[in-house]
């Protein structure tokens, strides 16, 4: 009996394929939007988590201002060399303290030039980031002091400027600063946010401050705790030290932040939650409109098939059986929309994740939920037309032209 009903419903739907498709378009778009966003979101989260587990949780990021949505950090006071020195001397349990100044500059070698991220730092940066050298060596002491120039380049920069040749010992110009290449970083690939980590040039902090940034301050510090040392303790030690050094009165908020990767990830997820909520609202409206579309077309269908309904009622179909038939048709229609939406959404998500370079993580929960939701839409909006069909007077229905 159920199989018969399903077959009948499918026949009615496929008889008007274009109309059926247009009817469920609202459901398709709603479901596709949700599936695509959630899948892309999952991919990004997975990428960030993979990054986290690679970096370990013992890395802390110290920045001026507060980290998080809606917090301006540009006005907060930057750090000085003395802050870095104080952390190195007074906070225990640290493996690396890497001051960091970051900018973008054009890098030139021979006839080739390439725009890249340029980071002024120390050898501790390589330790904190777990970054090996593929070729050459880290900075020497005199380079660190700034008395001699030296650059370590990432794989992407090497490829752009030198092709397959060995760049160690060659000279490059970083925004008018002549700098011999002393090392090449091992390949790391893309970061969780989708940027190329190998597209970078490292130079000693002193050289960067003087010749590129034109400053004596430091924009951020990366800390790496020793194994077995609780990052929370290091975090609070660094916070109290910096509060003291920056003379922040008791009861006032920090004008800097010390976070580990998971806290930063959580801050980013906060934005995602807002976005997901907004998207959910759009999807709800779209599904509502889609449901009304289904109800409308089912009412048209009941009117068109009045005579058929009359025949069925006359030869022994119970109200319940006619109701079921039209309800199954509406549910099948909306499931058809839901499944199309799931397929379209996954395809869209696949395109986007390929573009962003994050993994494709399809969530079975959301797919199942979308499926159930579209079925429910058909049930709710198909009920009224189905009931109208079931309650037709067979005599009048048979007379209907």
């Amino acid at each position: 009996m159920f199989f018969e009903t399903a077959k009948l419903a499918w026949r009615a739907i496929s008889r008007n394929m274009l109309r059926s498709f247009l009817t469920v378009l609202g459901v398709v778009i709603g479901v596709a939007a949700v599936i695509a966003m959630v899948t892309v979101g999952n991919g990004t989260t997975a990428k960030v988590q993979a990054e986290l587990s690679r970096l370990g949780t013992n890395t802390l990021f110290v920045r001026p201002g507060q980290w998080g949505p809606g917090r301006a950090s540009s006005e907060a006071k930057r750090f000085s060399d003395k802050d870095v020195l104080a952390i190195q001397e007074q906070v225990t349990g640290l493996r690396a303290v890497a001051p960091l100044n970051r900018g973008t500059a054009t890098v030139i070698a021979g006839g080739a030039n390439h725009s890249s991220s340029v980071i002024g730092t120390t050898n501790d940066y390589l330790i904190a980031q777990d970054w090996d050298l593929a070729l050459g060596r880290p900075f020497l002491a005199n380079e660190d002091r700034g008395s001699q120039a030296g650059c370590i380049i990432g794989e992407t920069v090497r490829k752009e400027l030198f092709g397959s040749a060995n760049p160690v010992g060659q000279n490059i110009r970083v925004s008018n600063v002549a700098c011999p290449v002393v090392g090449v970083l091992a390949v790391k690939g893309q970061s969780g946010m989708g940027d190329d980590q190998d597209d970078t040039v490292l130079m000693p902090l002193k050289l960067h401050q003087r010749r590129i940034g034109g400053t004596t301050t430091i924009s951020s510090i990366i800390l790496s705790a020793q194994d077995g040392v609780a990052t929370t303790k290091v975090q609070s030690d660094v916070e109290s030290l910096l509060r003291e050094r920056r003379r922040i009165a008791i009861g006032r908020e920090d004008d800097f932040s010390v976070n580990d990767m998971s806290q930063i990830a959580a801050a980013m997820t906060g934005t995602t939650v807002l976005l997901t909520g907004l998207l959910g609202a759009v999807a709800a409206v779209s599904l509502l409109v889609g449901g009304i579309g289904i109800m409308n077309i089912m009412l048209v269908s009941v009117t068109e098939r009045t005579r058929e309904i009359g025949i069925r009622l006359a030869i022994g179909a119970l109200e319940r059986q006619v109701l079921t038939q039209f309800l199954v048709e509406a549910v099948m229609l909306s499931i058809f929309g839901g499944v199309s939406g799931i397929v379209a959404g996954l395809a869209l998500a696949y395109g986007v994740v390929s573009f962003l370079g994050v993994p494709f993580v399809a969530s079975p929960t959301i797919i199942l939920l979308a499926f159930a939701f579209s079925a429910a839409i058909g049930m709710v909006f198909g009920y009224f037309p189905a009931r109208r069909a079931a309650q037709l007077n067979p005599i009048e229905a048979l007379r209907h032209e």
Binding site: M1, R15, E308, R312, E319, P394, I395, L398
Partner: protein, 238 residues
């Protein structure tokens, strides 16, 4: 002990409208039809013959009076019970055939059996037997549009008899057919009445079609004007 009549009307009336505008479609009709009869019903339009058919068919209910089916009063029946009466006891043949469009002959015939919850193979077997009885063997795969009017009416008759009903209700079964096809359809209905013992109640406005019945009822203005047994001039050797 004798069996009760299959159809009994006791003072059955049917009114439409209210007050001054009330139309008395049926006015206190008494009637009884015995199993195995072939009854023709005639009358001008508005005489109440269609209303009587609708009440017999369980599609309509009397305003007053009692309609008994096989001696059982139906006045307490709800919509579902009337549906079950139609499903198990009655077969319908209409003037306009009323087959499902774009559906094959055999699927049309199977329709009443689907609602009985019969399984696919049994259904198909019985539908094929019914189609053979109406002389449409080999045409089961044709859709409604691919069949002539006479063939469509044969499919409709097969659909009406597939569930072995006690009564076949035919409302102007030859109204849309030419004379030759009408004769064929009437011979088929006569044979079903004679050989299968199905009670036939048929509404028509053509005297020569009505003559196939063994009994003729004439309705005028909601009353039964005459009720006579007919001489069997149409007792052909079929």
């Amino acid at each position: 002990m004798t069996l009760p009549p299959i159809i009994t009307f006791r003072q059955v009336s049917k009114f439409y409208g209210h007050g001054e505008a009330t139309i008395r479609a049926l006015d206190r009709i008494d009637l009884s039809i015995t199993a195995g009869e072939f009854v023709s019903i005639m009358g001008p339009s508005g005489s109440g013959k269609s209303t009587a058919m609708n009440i017999i068919g369980g599609l309509d209910v009397p305003t007053s009076g009692e309609y008994l089916f096989q001696g059982i009063p139906t006045s307490g029946f709800d919509r579902a019970q009337l549906t079950l009466l139609r499903r198990h006891m009655l077969g319908f043949v209409f003037q306009g055939f009323n087959l499902l469009a774009r559906t094959s002959a055999v699927e049309n015939v199977e329709l009443p059996l689907i609602y009985r919850g019969m399984d696919h193979r049994e259904r198909r077997k019985r539908a094929m037997v019914a189609l053979e009885q109406v002389g449409l063997k080999g045409r089961e795969g044709h859709t409604t549009q691919e069949l002539s009017g006479g063939q469509q009416q044969r499919v409709a008759i097969a659909r009406a008899i597939v569930a072995d009903p006690a009564v076949l209700l035919a409302d102007e079964p030859t109204g849309n057919l030419d004379t030759k096809t009408s004769t064929e359809i009437m011979e088929l209905i006569t044979r079903l009445n004679r050989d299968n013992g199905i009670t036939v109640i048929m509404v028509t406005h053509e005297e020569d079609i009505a003559a196939y019945g063994k009994r003729l009822l004439r309705f005028v203005d909601g009353h039964l004007a005459s009720d006579q047994v007919q001489v069997k001039e149409h007792d052909h050797v079929l």
